[in-house]
């Protein structure tokens, strides 16, 4: 008998703008010791589906409209609130996405850890503490006695997620729901956490529901996979079967959207003429935030070496991928080159001119040629300007259009980036993430630039949208002969788009080289570790 058997689950949200069928007729089951992966893009209902089982959705507006969820023969959807309180944390535990916000900052790690024991098992504090230290040890936290008394902010993201796992395991539940447990983490940390989860599951024979948007992660951890879209199940099957032979079009599209394979080498790169040369660039931030009290603020006055002695060159019509984990300084590097972040030392030569000391006035004609695409399409557009105003502004400021021709030019730009002309008078908040990123790209290419810094332009997007935007970027690079610095944490994306790759770690260059050569034979230890951490398809034959 299945541990959990969900049949025809329906969860609807009754909002002012009508009913949203977040989960519509979903059925699945999980056995002890097995992992079910639920895959879907944002808005697919994958999280709501699982949260509704343990009564964690906001009600109202959410409402469970039908179905059953038999857990050990007991229907979770109809049991009393009191009974649900007994089940949660005791029989069913949840691990959430963002370990930074999911731990209470006002309580010690230990206190939060032993709560399931205190309130479900009636175990006294000293005994609970011993158990907690054991389990902290088990999830790989060094010095658990000390960490027991730490507050969450004293731990790194990876450690916090370990604590969350310990918290889920401590009452020895039969089922664990993991909601994107590694999405907020760097790729090397993700690899460690996934390994830990797998080991613990095998040891304890618990059932796991693993919710994620990342197909590669699912292929590594799950026995069975459920693909969801718009609240409905699109396809289900064993992991091996589903990835080797996807039947539904949507699943095929999802798998195809994962950036894979190699970009063919662009042959026409004339090596002799670098467009951009960066020599020994440093950006050190001085932290002189006036703290709570001035004497300690003086102590805080220390340098953060965001970019530390970085040299690179980019040839004309080349895409240089810059790869690094969070805190590697990759964004600061891109901004420092464009003069958006301060430069402490070093030299920047653009098209033969040393622009390091250029004033804002001297930079202005160059600004037309150097543009940037930002990560967050929600923050990078002025919410109070229409698409027309956003796209017309650079054209008018640089004198590339006059009032008569500007509309035609804006419409041409919209065609270029694949936006319907009818949207010209709309505001950013009326668009989806992918469409907004198209607008942002349109703004960046409006002035017909030569060089573009793209800072994680696709990492805020769903995987199918991501594929579209990547293809758009490649198309525009070819059409307008662009040179690009493409910054990303996602190695798959960089491999797909970049001619050459530079690996950044703690502000320093670890390694750089032709993309495929670097992939085939990484030299630096850090690069090896990074490449080894990427989750791969078990059966996808990459």
């Amino acid at each position: 008998m299945a541990l959990l058997k969900v049949t025809n689950l329906k969860v609807w949200f009754h909002t002012r703008n009508g009913v949203v069928k977040a989960v519509d007729d979903v059925s699945f089951s999980v056995d002890a010791g097995q992992t079910l992966g639920i895959v879907g893009e944002s808005g697919s209902g994958k999280s709501v589906c699982c949260y509704s089982l343990v009564d964690l959705i906001p009600k109202p507006p959410g409402k469970i409209e039908g179905g059953t969820a038999l857990f050990n023969g007991e229907d979770l959807l109809t049991c009393s609130a009191q009974r649900m309180g007994e089940i949660r944390g005791n029989d069913i535990a949840v691990i959430f996405q963002d370990p930074m916000t999911c731990l209470n900052p006002y309580l010690t790690v230990g206190e939060q850890l032993i709560e399931p024991l205190l309130y479900h098992r009636g175990i006294k504090r000293p005994e609970a503490r011993l158990q907690a230290i054991d389990i902290l040890n088990e999830v790989g936290i060094t010095n658990p006695e000390r960490r027991f008394n730490s507050y969450p902010h004293e731990l790194s993201g990876g450690m916090r997620q370990r604590v969350m796992i310990a918290m889920a395991l401590i009452a020895e539940p039969k089922l664990i729901i993991c909601d994107e447990p590694t999405t907020a983490l760097d790729v090397t940390i993700q690899a460690q956490i996934l390994k830990l989860l797998r080991e613990l599951q095998q040891k304890r024979q618990v059932a796991v529901i693993f919710i994620t948007h990342d197909l590669a992660v699912v292929s590594e951890v799950a026995n069975d996979v459920l693909v969801m879209k718009n609240g409905k199940v699109v396809e289900r099957g064993t992991t091996a079967e589903l990835f080797a032979n996807p039947k539904e079009e949507y699943t095929q599209k999802l798998i195809a959207a994962i950036p894979s394979g190699v970009k063919p080498l662009t042959e026409s790169v004339p090596k002799a003429t670098p467009l951009l040369e960066v020599n020994h660039l440093r950006t050190w931030f001085r932290d002189y935030s006036v703290g709570l009290f001035s004497s300690a603020a003086l102590k805080l006055e220390r340098n953060i070496k965001a970019v530390d002695d970085v040299s690179l060159t980019i040839q004309r019509r080349e895409i240089l991928g810059v790869v690094g984990e969070s805190g590697s300084g990759k964004s600061t590097l891109g901004r420092a080159i464009l003069g958006l972040a301060p430069r402490t030392a070093g030299q920047i030569i653009y098209d033969g001119q040393d622009i390091t000391q250029y004033s804002a006035r001297q930079m202005k004609p160059l600004r037309r040629k150097m543009q940037m695409i930002f990560q967050d399409p929600y923050a990078s557009l002025n919410p109070r300007m229409t698409i027309f105003e956003t796209l017309a502004e650079p054209l008018l400021v640089h004198g590339l259009a006059n009032r008569k021709t500007v509309t035609a030019q804006v419409l041409e730009l919209m065609d270029d980036v694949g936006l319907a002309r009818a949207y010209i008078r709309k505001y950013p908040h009326e668009f989806s993430g992918g469409q907004r990123q198209r607008i942002a790209i349109g703004r960046a290419i409006a002035t017909k630039p030569e060089f573009i810094v793209a800072d994680e332009p696709v990492s805020a997007l769903d995987v199918t949208i991501q594929a579209q935007i990547l293809d758009l970027i490649l198309e525009l690079v070819n059409k307008h002969n662009l040179t690009m610095m493409f910054i990303s944490h996602d190695l798959g994306v960089v491999r797909y788009i970049a001619d050459r790759v530079l690996v950044l770690h703690r502000g320093k260059v670890e390694e750089q080289g032709i993309t495929e050569e670097l992939w085939a034979a990484p030299q630096a230890d850090y690069t090896k570790k990074l490449l080894g951490a990427i989750p791969r398809f078990a059966n996808a034959g990459m």
């Binding site: 949660r88 944390g89 999911c102 900052p105 004497s295």
Partner: protein, 311 residues
């Protein structure tokens, strides 16, 4: 923590110095001498008076000696009550004022936080609307209006409670305390509701729910500390507000407290008394700001960590 406390204490010194200096010179700038209003005073008496109050010295020396006296805790003699020092007057008014302030603060904190928490548990229902509309009335009903109305209704028409005095009759402390605390109770109710709503929407509350903790544990152990931070930050300003509220409330209810003395001194142009009470009030306000800062840091582990000299 101790170090944090002392650095903050040190920072209070320039603030106090600014208060003393501004007060001193503001009063000196006042047109006319302090004894102008008196009937013709013989020159020799005037001279003796001026010497007594050090008015014969150059302003600069007056200032330094005044600051010097303040450091030793001496506020000087009163202009209007010959023979009595400002210290005596402050000490005479302080007990009643302190008691009134304490009761008002209790009224504000207890009623305010309770109403705020209750409202935040079921937002946008009657349980939210009723206390919050009442709070809005409290905010729009200043103490100088609420006080007389309470007197009118409970003191005169219903004749339930005495309408003036302090400690002379049983129950004469009720109306002043409510008058002074009500507005702050209303404000604190809004702050704590907002704080609680903010915290209750945090991910870590969802984590606590997912652990199957009882609702009371979630509210009192997990949500309350974060939710009350805005209230704690408000305590300093609230105290300053209570002080100025005491001017009105003590006048309405004829309570022999500092606030009434201050208002009287202002009307009597009793300059040393004005200066003395101003500096004393400033000292109290700075002290309470400090206290509310220290509590805010102490309650938040992250700030506490920084305050202990961590990174």
């Amino acid at each position: 923590m101790l170090k944090f406390f002392f650095t903050r204490l040190l920072q209070a010194i320039p603030v106090l110095l600014v208060v003393i200096t501004v007060t001193f010179f503001l009063v000196r700038l006042a047109p006319g001498g302090p004894f102008d209003a008196e009937k013709a005073v013989p020159p020799e008496v005037l001279k003796a008076l001026e010497a007594n109050y050090r008015l014969d010295l150059p302003v600069w020396q007056q200032y330094t000696s005044y600051v010097g006296d303040l450091v030793t805790g001496d506020f000087g003699p009163s202009f209007r009550y010959p023979g009595r020092s400002v210290n005596e007057l402050i000490m005479a008014g302080l007990p009643a004022s302190a008691e009134l302030g304490l009761y008002a603060l209790l009224v504000a904190l207890v009623i305010g936080t309770l109403a705020g928490i209750i409202a935040s548990l079921r937002p946008n229902t009657a349980q939210d609307y009723i206390p919050m509309s009442t709070a809005m009335i409290g905010i729009c009903m200043p103490s100088f209006l609420l006080g007389p109305l309470l007197v009118l209704v409970f003191g005169i028409w219903l004749d339930w409670l005495p309408i003036s005095g302090w400690g002379d009759m049983p129950g004469d402390k009720i109306l002043p305390s409510i008058t002074m605390g009500a507005g702050y109770a209303a404000y604190i109710a809004r702050l704590s509701r907002g704080g609680m709503l903010e915290v209750l929407s945090q991910d870590y509350i969802r984590t606590a729910r997912a652990k199957g903790l009882p609702e009371r544990v979630i509210i009192f152990k997990h949500a309350l500390r974060g939710g009350l931070i805005p209230v704690i930050a408000f305590l300093g300003p609230a105290f300053a507000g209570l002080l100025s509220g005491s001017f009105v409330v003590e006048t309405i209810f004829q309570i022999p407290g500092l606030g009434r003395f201050f208002v009287q001194a202002a009307f009597n142009r009793d300059y040393t008394m004005i200066m003395g009470t101003t500096v004393f009030f400033a000292f109290l306000i700075v002290l309470f700001n400090l206290l509310s800062d220290v509590i805010a840091v102490w309650i938040n582990p992250r700030l506490r960590h920084q305050a202990q000299g961590g990174h």
